[in-house]
């Protein structure tokens, strides 16, 4: 057991935990986006920032990737943390203003303006889909390409990959909707299921039965079973 200090409270934490693990264990809310308990930690969205250290030498780190050590001093909601967090949300919002998840975050943290040029993209490169595909679905059909502002998520050569089993897990986990199926007409969609192969859903399910939780919206069941063959 290690002793750490979160928001001036001395707590015990287990070796191997991240700051986020410890905070969540004690019921402290730290916002996350690219973090998912079923996937490896990534630290890309920078929402879960916390301030560590004391006195002059404090710094912000992503709590989901930072391992705790004996005597670590953590503050989860300082002014510096909140300001950085708000800026992160504003950056995300300007990139993908259509995402419900990001809109909710903006409202929660009082981000009321988008001072950057609105881009209406549908991906914030949080990498959830990439990790989902590799770690949970054991497929590794999609991955990051390029670097910097040219970064994108796609299949090799941007075409349907033989590793893709059309499971739809990437679409399920996406917070910004880029990988949601764009229907049978899209030629940029990751799986291209409805273009190239038989649709995964041959019947139209209702809300409860649809494993995507968005009956009819994902597009795979737009095609009639009779068109499938």
């Amino acid at each position: 057991m290690l002793t750490i200090y979160i928001n001036n409270t001395e707590v015990q934490a287990e070796e191997g935990w991240t700051i986020l693990d410890a905070a969540q264990f004690y019921g402290l809310a730290i916002p996350t986006l690219c973090h998912n308990p079923g996937l490896s930690n990534y630290g890309g969205c920078r929402l879960c920032l916390v301030e560590i250290g004391e006195g002059k030498y404090t710094k912000l780190v992503s709590s989901c990737t930072y391992p705790i050590g004996e005597g670590l001093v953590v503050h989860t909601d300082t002014k510096r943390v909140l300001e950085a967090r708000r800026m992160m949300i504003e950056l995300m919002l300007s990139t993908a203003p259509g995402s419900k998840v990001i809109q909710d975050l903006a409202s929660l943290y009082g981000v009321k303006q988008m001072r950057f040029k609105i881009r209406n993209e549908e991906c914030i490169y949080c990498g959830l889909c990439v990790r989902m595909c590799e770690e949970q679905m054991d497929a590794k059909a999609i991955g990051f390409q390029n670097r910097g502002f040219k970064r994108k998520i796609s299949t090799p050569f941007d075409e349907r990959s033989y590793e893709c089993r059309l499971c739809g897990a990437c679409m399920y986990i996406c917070p910004a909707c880029a990988l949601r199926c764009q229907g049978p007409d899209a030629d940029t969609a990751v799986c291209n299921a409805c273009l190239n192969l038989d649709p995964t859903c041959v019947e139209v399910y209702d809300e409860l039965q649809c494993w995507m939780y968005d009956a009819g919206q994902c597009g795979t069941c737009v095609k009639k079973p009779s068109d499938a063959k």
Binding site: G44, L60, S62, Y66, P67, E83, I124, C126, G148, F149
Partner: protein
Amino acid sequence: MHQIKSPQELREAAAEQKRQREAQQKAVLTVSAGTCGQARGSLDVIESLRKIVKEQSLEDRVEVKLTGCHGFCEAEPNIIIQPQNIFYQHVKPNDAAQIIEDTILNNQIIEKLLYKEPTSGKEAIKEEDISFYTKQNRLVLGDNALIEPTQLNEYFSIGGYLALAQVLEDMEPEEVITSILDAGLRGRGGAGFPTGRKWKLTRTVEADKKYIICNADEGDPGAYMDRSLMEGNPHRVLEGMIIGGYAIGADEGFVYIRDEYPLALKHITRAIEQAEEAGVLGENILGSSFSFKVNIVKGAGAFVCGEETALMRSIEGKVGEPRQRPPFPAVSGLWKRPTNINNVETWANVPLIILRGAQWYSEIGTEGSKGTKIFSLVGKINNTGLVEVPMGITLREIIYDIGGGIPGGKQFKAVQTGGPSGGCLPAEKLDLPIDYESLTQAGSIMGSGGMIVMDEDTCMVDVSKYFLNFLRDESCGKCLSCREGTQRMWEVVSDICDGNGKESDIQLLEELAVAVKDASMCGLGQTAANPVLSTLRYFREEYDAPIKDQRCPAGVCKALISYSIVAENCTGCMACLKACPEGAITGVLKEVHVLNQEKCIKCGACFEVCKFDAIKIE
């Protein structure tokens, strides 16, 4: 070369080489032939010198030596003639005959090849007379001019590998570390972490295998001292690494070298082969129980791989994305083994400290920053080149005394230090004594030592845009703050340069810059805002001009300037007319030309060719 089996044997071999060097009766012509020198034709100079020596059968009187960069890049290709130490600059192949005839055979100085001081116009005959060299203390770089980098014997002749012999014979690994600690050597690659502390950390971790890495991925635009060291004195870097391996308990090392440095790659590769052949590298070095091997890994063009965790991932064959520290490389680095990583210049300092002692070394420099640092003094400066100076020297001394000031009688505006992670310092900071702390306090960093001088014709908003453009491409793209932050800052600054800036943009930039600095994980992101923050801090008025008055005072930002012809100065020579790619300039010979603004694409071709100051930029 036969295998050297003991430190004693090495000492004898080195002494013999030294004796031979000192007994040298020939006149020695050392021609600087690093990449810059070669680009300026030094190889042709060497060829024609050798040809003449051969034709006149002077082989027993004259030796032509091909060395690495001498540091004085402005004067390339240059020749130093020993024993008189005569310095000739801008030598051309057809000067060769005269050099041999006049200087070597008749002991006469050739005036047209002498260096003239840019300020006083005084001629300098010897290297030590040149103001560029007088304030320098070339402990690390100086050897470049003495030896042929591709010959191990040459390195022996100046005491090469003697530090290694001493370490293997008389010193415990802990003593080596103590020596480096006492010397106060700090990493020369950027952050300036104490080298000895890093070594100690790596040594104390228990592991079945440890690694050493030489970071030769010199990515900062405007810095090239590491390239020069690798090209001109690769064995010294190697010797430092072997000593480091011994101290830390590592038996394998990697040199991660930039893809863009073909000559450096060639020389370090050859150095490793030679060192193995001679028994100073490989199994049972100098007959001891210590074994060490060195591999070379070529980078593939990614600035972020200069960051240590990204570099290690790159060696592992992966995408160069930095990772969270802790765990630090000293605990879990390359293939999860304890790894010590230092840059080229740091390694090159190690043999020096061992040979001359920690005490001696720690007397050079300032309280917190010891030794010398190599800076690459480039940009709008008279004496461009690599300068090695003791820490604590002021910017003014470097720029005016060593660098000879700004060319063309222009006004100094700023000096950019530390590459894309650094900042721009204005004239009022010229008397700042340079060390790690003072530069950080001033809003810049030491970085790897790039020092780019800017004059009144440089637009600071444009410079800030330049670095943001660099960073938005070189960011690995993992952290939102860095990927989106640099992109958005670039967008805002671009808008300002295009005359579309708003007054609120400045505050937005400031807020965003602080957030990027705070929220990013690795060094690249944490310092990515420095160019913006430092230009905002010192050159705020340059941001105001395009926002409030729609003008670029330096005449750089295309959207805000126009070219026009000054009728009084135009002689009607038709040079600009011929140079204009768009046919925007019309006129006849000996009559004032006319520039059609609608056709003008502001490429600057007319400005470049006009000899009469008749093209005006507003």
